[in-house]
């Protein structure tokens, strides 16, 4: 592990003094280290390529919104149309443009949160005594009790998730986000997926509630791309055009 950490420090340009040159010398003389070095470089290339691909994708969606929100006559083939048809088309554009303007003016992350938020229903399953008490409080929609029953010392993904949901119900979005992210971090660390899908979805919803569509969108896109995700169908029904529109509006 120590050798790998040194390679990563070298990769990150965080080695001081002669350590960097010595590490490079070490890599050059050891085929196994050369191999490891190539893998690390490839991993960083992959991360940078993914980041750029996602950024280009985001700008592409903005460009599409610009294209659809302002109707522009095609410069290609000019078709001859009758005057009446032109009038009807103009009226439709006016009505469509008005509708688009109204939508643009009224839409926000918060409005999307109101549209897409639904409470989480807890299925009963027996667990530890603390969890049972929390389950009962949750089913009784006693959000304050759910929160008061949460103990950092005895936390599980389930108690974090339910406490996150209780905070979300009480519109304490920062606290909700903290609990959902804790579930995701715990799963990533342990290689598990306990309450993973639920936490991902409600994390995105919490970001929408906080008017942070840029945080919500990558999570929702990931859910939409994963057909096995618990909330895939729900997310697929969302209007990504609306989400992109909010993103564009909030980025201005």
């Amino acid at each position: 592990m120590e050798q790998n950490q040194t390679l990563i420090d070298h990769l990150d340009n965080s080695l001081r003094g002669d350590a960097s040159a010595e590490t490079q010398e070490m890599i050059n003389n050891d085929p196994e280290l050369i191999r490891e070095w190539h893998y690390l470089r490839l991993a960083v290339d992959a991360i940078q390529d993914t980041g750029l691909y996602e950024d280009v994708g985001t700008v592409k969606e903005q460009w599409k919104i610009q294209q659809t929100s302002v109707a522009k006559p095609s410069m290609g083939i000019v078709r001859s149309i009758t005057r009446n048809a032109a009038k009807i088309a103009a009226m439709l554009i006016l009505v469509g443009g008005g509708a688009a303007f109204f939508k643009y003016a009224t839409i926000s992350s918060g409005s999307l949160y109101d549209k897409y938020y639904t409470s989480y229903s807890l299925n009963t399953s027996r667990g530890a005594a603390d969890e049972d008490a929390m389950d009962k409080a949750y089913q009784a929609r006693d959000w304050q009790t759910v929160i008061s029953l949460f103990s950092p010392a005895k936390r599980t993904n389930k108690t974090d998730f339910l406490t996150g949901m209780a905070n979300l119900e009480l519109k304490k979005y920062d606290e909700a986000i903290e609990h959902f992210e804790q579930v995701l971090a715990a799963n990533a660390q342990a290689g598990t997926d306990y309450f993973q899908d639920e936490s991902q979805y409600y994390l995105a919803i919490s970001w929408l509630a906080k008017d942070k569509v840029n945080e919500a969108l990558p999570i929702l896109e990931k859910i939409r791309a994963d057909k096995n995700h618990l909330y895939h169908d729900k997310v697929e029904q969302m209007s990504f055009l609306d989400l992109r529109l909010v993103q564009y509006k909030e980025s201005k």
Binding site: I34, L52, K60, I219
Partner: protein, 201 residues
């Protein structure tokens, strides 16, 4: 339509290398060149979705070529983008094993310069596989690696963005995430084979 600034070719290249207004530069590329490239793809049998995907890959490849300092001003940016898009679409057609006729038509349109571009933009299929592996890491790992290696945030800044207590915790987490990613890459036989060949040579 809002125009994302106006760039000459030289200004556009400078904006991409500089990275400060990269999104504006990308928007300008879409506004100026997406339509002509897309019509080309559609003309050669692609759908609108194909044209959309190909142009996105084209822009990514172009930016990577520019950032690596491999873009030579031998042709205009427009010519280069069209050549890259042609190349990507040609490879996509080959991959889909469509009719030999269509590929033959396309082959007539290729020249030596485009083959050089193929070398410059690298193996797209491998890039796509690698992107999938990054996504497979899960959101927390992807986020930490993206913020460090793509957004170039420092460890200190990472602590502010992520739900971890201090820099050491973030450092350990980043280490594990990078190891996880290299582990995924190692388990991809085609990529592992390529690395072995590089090491041997």
């Amino acid at each position: 339509m809002k125009v994302a600034g106006k760039y000459t070719d030289a200004e556009l290249l400078a904006a991409i290398k500089d990275e400060r207004n990269l999104n504006q530069a990308i928007l300008f590329i879409y506004q100026q060149y997406a339509a002509s490239t897309s019509s080309f793809i559609i003309h050669y049998g692609g759908s609108e979705q194909d044209a959309d995907d190909v142009f996105q890959e084209t822009v990514v490849s172009f930016i990577e070529v520019v950032k690596k300092g491999n873009f030579r001003m031998e042709a205009s940016i427009k010519t280069f983008l069209v050549s890259v898009a042609k190349n990507i679409w040609f490879n996509e057609l080959k991959k889909r094993e469509r009719s030999g006729h269509r590929e033959k038509i396309f082959e007539y349109g290729r020249d030596q310069k485009e083959q050089d571009i193929s070398h410059q933009i690298g193996d797209l299929e491998k890039k796509r596989q690698l992107r999938d592996l990054v996504h497979n890491l899960g959101e927390p790992c992807k986020k930490i690696l993206m913020l460090f290696y793509y957004e170039n945030l420092s460890m200190k800044e990472l602590v502010e963005h992520l739900p971890y207590e201090n820099e050491q915790v973030v450092r350990n987490k980043k280490y594990k995430c990078l190891q996880a990613l290299t582990g995924f890459i190692k388990s991809n036989p085609a990529i592992a084979q390529q690395i072995s060949e590089i090491v041997k040579s």
